[in-house]
Amino acid sequence: MEQQNELVLKVRNLRLYFNTHSGPVQAVDGVDFDLRKNEATVIIGESGCGKSSLAKAILRLLPRNAGTYDGEVWLHDKNIMKLDDESFRKEIRWKRISMVPQAAMNALNPVLKIGTQVAEPAMVHMNMNEEEATKAAVRMLEHVGVPVDFLHRYSFELSGGMRQRSALAMALVTLPDVVILDEPTSALDVLTQASIMNLMKRMKKELETSFILITHDIATSSELADNVAVMYAGQVVEVSDARRFFTKPLHPYSHALMASVPRLRETIEPEFITGQPPSLLNPPTGCRFKDRCPKRFEKCDEEPPTVLVDGDRKVKCWLYV
């Protein structure tokens, strides 16, 4: 077997539920996936399947109504779920794992200059003084392609693409091991989207950083993916390397998702997925995809196990047992 890059992050059986009047919302329900050095694992799935909640669970950014929260998150050889909140905040968040949240480009502070905003995480989390932090910010802004004279501008003076690059610089300025990107290009135009993807491909190689890219856009996901984890109704239903995934997805949901993508260079008719994802309040027992699955059979009323296929691909489906 070919040499694999060093494992950076290992998520096992991660759960995050939200308490509501109607009961617990099982937004992240037993999620497993891996991330290796200088690689990107993309998390794909339709809106509402729990992608942003997964990001919050990894970074322990819990809303007030968080309920069940357990599982393992191994950063190198340390299970960071075992850390108390204080140590997690001091040692992990920003310093080792950072995030570009969904719609970050619109969430920049309007009254702070870009340079100050990018320098801030370095001061707060890396104990740098202002001068050092500013230097780090300048370096990172250059790296992500924001012109140096933008340092003194405010976010509203920047285009969407430049704001998104600045948000990326903020997440990278601490040189973390892992950066989580939540829908980083969804709100951007195609050309801007493509140049940001170019940038992230470069960063993945040049920096000591690995990426978790969260997106509902399958075509875009293939721009960065080394590995793919497909999420459906709070669970990961397939994990695979990108090469085999994009040529031959295994799970019926992955199939359906791939078939729903309109193609530019091929004339195959896209197919939609009938029905709707289940409620995460009372998800169906057995396979959560069964009501929409064209391959459903008797077994599917029981919870499917996650099985290994083709060596190291994982799929949660009775068809492969």
């Binding site: 170019n198 399958i218 993916a225 994009f246 896209p270 997925i273």
Partner: protein, 347 residues
């Protein structure tokens, strides 16, 4: 001889007195006012655009945000006044139309917004949402209103009807909300549908379903459709014609397959280069993306508006003279000097 025919056919598609919708040298400029200084220039959101759309045809308008798509659309809907030029729809000249006539003009065009949730009034149920346009347009017969509601909900597949009618927008999924928006756009039995990014807020799985529904309505009602999008990958399944806008102008116009399979304008090439199909190889390549960003429409660049970003820019030509519409093959027009017989060179 064939050249002459080609000429006529191309011109046909930018000017044709018989067509249902005719956009004639349309300019939509917004005046900038600066306090104390008065007039401070114009935002030239639509600058000399022309095309026609026949009954029963779908045309896609592609371009990035800020290129003038919504301004064009709002003008067609009769919500903007043309600064210069005109819109002729169903034999009515927009620039000559006012008051009651303008209301009648608008009632023959259905409008589908980008964000279905934002488009639907939160405190109205589906029944009232669908009845409102009919009441405004004077359909007094309650039974007739009921008949239309039943028919259109059937067509957009929002059934069982009795369960759908009392629902409020927040009780519906994104796809269902968009169906309500489509039903509302269809309720006055329009001749033209204008759909502004109708699926960009929806998940891929639902997107295709909504596009197919629009296509089906278009065919069954022999509708003209203007489909506005920034996403080239969805147009193959939708339209006969397509045009690409950049900085307020049309840079390329062609039959859909021609444009996708044989693109000519450097900007169209860039858009195609930037749009990907799912493929693991994508992660291995750096895409060739033109530098910079679209220009300000207050002071657009001289000559070709794309020239500061264009990798094929010919100095002394592209940065000086505005490119003409050049017909490269029948019904395929491109506004780029590269295709000029004397000045250009092939790429």
């Amino acid at each position: 001889m064939s050249d002459v025919n080609a000429e006529i056919s191309a011109v046909d598609h930018i000017t044709n007195d018989q067509a249902l919708l005719q956009i004639k040298d349309l300019h939509v400029w917004y005046e900038l006012k600066r306090f104390g200084f008065g007039h401070a220039g114009y935002v030239r959101a639509v600058d000399n655009v022309r095309f026609v759309l026949e009954q029963g045809e779908a045309i896609a308008c592609v371009g990035e945000s800020g290129c003038g798509k919504s301004s064009l659309m709002k003008t067609i809907l009769g919500l903007n006044i043309p600064t210069k030029g005109d819109v002729i729809f169903d034999n009515t000249s927009l620039s000559q139309t006012k008051g009651e006539d303008l209301r009648r003009y608008r009632s023959k065009i259905g409008y589908i917004q980008q964000d279905p949730f934002g488009a639907l009034p939160p405190f109205m149920n589906v029944q009232s949402i669908l009845e409102e346009p009919m009441i405004i347009n004077g359909i007094k017969d309650k039974q007739e209103r009921r008949r239309r509601i039943e028919k259109i909900l059937e067509e957009v597949k929002l059934t069982p009807i009795e369960q759908v009618l009392p629902k409020f927008p927040h009780m519906l999924s994104g796809g269902q909300q968009q169906r309500v928006v489509i039903a509302r756009a269809m309720i006055m039995e329009p001749k033209l549908l204008v759909a502004d990014e109708p699926v960009s807020m929806l998940d891929a799985s639902v997107r295709v379903e909504i596009l197919r529904l629009l296509r089906k309505l278009q065919e069954e009602h022999h509708l003209a459709v203007l489909y506005i999008t920034h996403d080239l990958s969805t147009v193959r399944y939708f339209s006969e014609y397509i045009f690409v806008m950049y900085a307020g102008q049309i840079v390329e116009f062609a039959r859909m397959e021609d444009l996708l399979d044989n693109p000519k304008h450097p900007y169209t090439l860039a858009l195609l280069e930037a749009s990907s199909d799912p493929n693991a190889d994508n992660a291995l390549v750096q895409r060739e993306i033109p530098k910079g960003e679209p220009p300000s429409l207050v002071n657009p660049p001289k000559g070709c508006r794309f020239h500061p970003r264009c990798p094929y820019m010919m100095e002394g030509i592209c940065d000086v003279l505005e490119p003409p519409n050049i017909e490269v093959t029948p019904k395929h027009l491109v506004a780029c000097w590269l295709y000029d017989e004397e000045k250009g060179h092939a790429i």
